[in-house]
């Protein structure tokens, strides 16, 4: 197994562990403004993904990303299934020629684009997009403009995603179940933005190892 492939499998496993630990918290967030299943959706989906990628022979990062996306698509119903899963499948092609700082940026950009396409949400709609946009923009700028090493860039991106997730609290939802609440959605942290942050944090931890 290539070192990058091994790291990719480890990253998925790390995400799965983290989301299992955050299961109740994410479900609590989703109870307040949704239907109380985001924790279960994520924990279950990523646990299956970890199982699936562990079974790949000789995986590379693209295969791992694609298998993860496919598993999420078929294991997670709900909005987060096609958003996380479909976008991963699509973005994985950017890694076909291996994991480099450039391909990582392309992967992140494609992932974001696909989430926006499918969900039709913009920044400020109180969704995962609010965490994703600062994450991807900061990552791209740190690599392409500031020339920072990928791990440092990712750390900055995680900080940005954290602010993005926090930003969902004081605003009103326009997409997702929370939008049904109208003004009552103000004051709640979006579950999908929060899980996106947890995924990013787990990737960073793996990259640091």
């Amino acid at each position: 197994m290539s070192a990058d492939g091994e790291a990719a499998v480890a990253a998925v496993e790390r995400v799965a562990e983290r989301l299992e630990r955050e299961r109740d918290y994410l479900t609590e967030l989703d109870s307040a403004i949704g239907d109380a299943d985001h924790g279960g959706n994520m924990a279950r989906g990523w646990a299956s993904a970890a199982e699936a990628v562990r079974e790949l022979d000789d995986p590379d990062p693209a295969t791992v990303a694609k298998a993860t996306g496919r598993t999420l698509m078929s294991e997670v119903g709900g909005a987060s299934g096609p958003l996380y899963g479909g976008s991963l499948v699509f973005a994985s092609v950017e890694l076909d020629d291996g994991l480099t700082p450039e391909s990582a940026v392309a992967f992140a950009e494609t992932y974001l684009e696909k989430v926006r396409d499918r969900g039709d949400a913009s920044v400020g709609d109180q969704t995962m997009v609010d965490a994703l946009v600062p994450l991807v923009h900061t990552f791209k700028k740190s690599i392409e403009v500031d020339g920072l090493p990928p791990v440092v860039a990712l750390a900055k991106a995680v900080d940005a995603a954290e602010r993005g997730a926090a930003f969902t609290v004081p605003i009103r939802a326009r997409k997702g179940r929370a939008s049904y609440l109208g003004w009552r959605s103000v004051g709640h942290k979006d579950p999908g933005a929060t899980s996106t942050l947890f995924v990013a944090e787990s990737l960073l931890e793996t990259a640091r190892d």
Partner: protein, 331 residues
């Protein structure tokens, strides 16, 4: 919270087996899926399919049978089925005349169904969609993801299923489904929260002196939390909201549904229906048919929803046409 379940992870799987065991001559479960279809699917006519999260029983599989659905995909509790499952469903119900997919307007359902349809169309299937969004509690605007699909969905199943049974083509079956959507409105309320098998505790806290108006069928908070009210007051609130949305002419004929959320006994639903009919009468509307029962539930939530659907001659014929399903029989 106590429930008649085994492992929460198995509840949907075991429920589906239990449904099929109750109706082995009518229902068949596609192996390795949570999709249930009629035993003789696909028929030689337009297939009508539906699906969504579980926990709304008898929706969806309870409406499979002559004159209604050909099949339905069940997601986990309150979670949309995956695209894979929807695809298997469409495939099993496509007899060559095309398939109408009845989708409730939730982003999860819509996105997963869309993906499935793209996949099925790549295989040469012809699929049309009706998106049901009858919940008037939600503002239908650019500022929301649109209104939710709730109890009015049953009427879409009924009308589209009856049209398909007549041998109509896909466009026509879709047209009548859409006609129901264009003429139906629903609003719900909760006395108590539902308890999901997974969480095992109320999804939201509602005090002993509080009720929630405009509740969703997944325990999504509603539009307003107020003090407890009498059955008549609740009925007035819900009905006025629905009528304000529908804006019907005097003497319009309507079909009404007083739908139980799962934990409310029929006694109370009939008390609500009494006031509903009185109110429609005062408003000069003409009840053509009145349904009372548990059609679109939210697990064990106590509460109800009121649906009003304006009907013309075509819809009356379709809604009164024979249907023979586990949960709804019309003869």
């Amino acid at each position: 919270m106590k429930k008649l379940i085994n492992d929460p992870d198995d509840v949907v799987d075991e429920m589906l087996d239990g449904m099929v065991a109750a109706h082995p001559d009518r229902l068949r479960r596609l192996s390795d899926t949570q999709v249930v279809v009629r035993t003789d699917a696909p028929l030689d006519e337009v297939g009508v399919v539906s699906g969504g999260g579980s926990g709304h029983e008898p929706t969806h599989a309870g409406y499979i049978g002559d004159g209604m659905l050909d099949g339905a995909a069940a997601g986990d509790v309150f979670s949309s089925p995956t695209a894979d499952e929807f695809e298997a469903l469409v495939d099993a119900c496509d007899g060559g005349e095309g398939v109408l997919a009845v989708v409730k307007n939730y982003e999860g359902d819509v996105m997963n169904f869309e993906t499935a349809i793209e996949l099925a169309e790549m295989e040469g299937a012809e699929v049309a969609t009706v998106v049901v969004n009858d919940d008037v509690a939600v503002e239908d605007s650019l500022y929301t993801s649109g209104r939710r699909g709730v109890c009015g969905t049953i009427l879409v199943h009924k009308a589209a299923g009856a049209k398909a049974a007549e041998g109509a083509d896909l466009a026509d079956v879709q047209r009548v489904g859409q006609k129901v959507v264009d003429n139906v409105g629903t609003m719900g309320m909760a006395l108590t929260s539902c308890v999901t098998p997974e969480k095992g505790e109320p999804t939201f806290d509602l005090g002993d002196e509080e009720i929630e108006l405009g509740i969703g069928i997944h325990g999504e908070p509603g539009t307003e939390r107020t003090g407890t009210m009498s059955a008549d007051e609740v009925t007035d609130e819900l009905t006025e909201s629905v009528l304000a949305d529908l804006d019907l002419d005097e003497d319009q004929e309507v079909l009404t549904i007083v739908n139980g959320m799962g934990g409310t006994p029929q006694m109370e639903l009939f008390v609500v229906n009494r006031r509903l009919q009185e109110l429609l009468d005062e408003r000069g509307l003409d009840t053509w048919d009145a349904w009372v029962g548990d059609y679109m539930t939210s697990l064990d939530m106590a509460g109800c929803s009121i649906t009003v659907c304006a009907v013309d001659d075509e819809l009356k014929e379709l809604l009164a046409a024979p249907a023979d399903t586990p949960a709804l029989t019309v003869r």
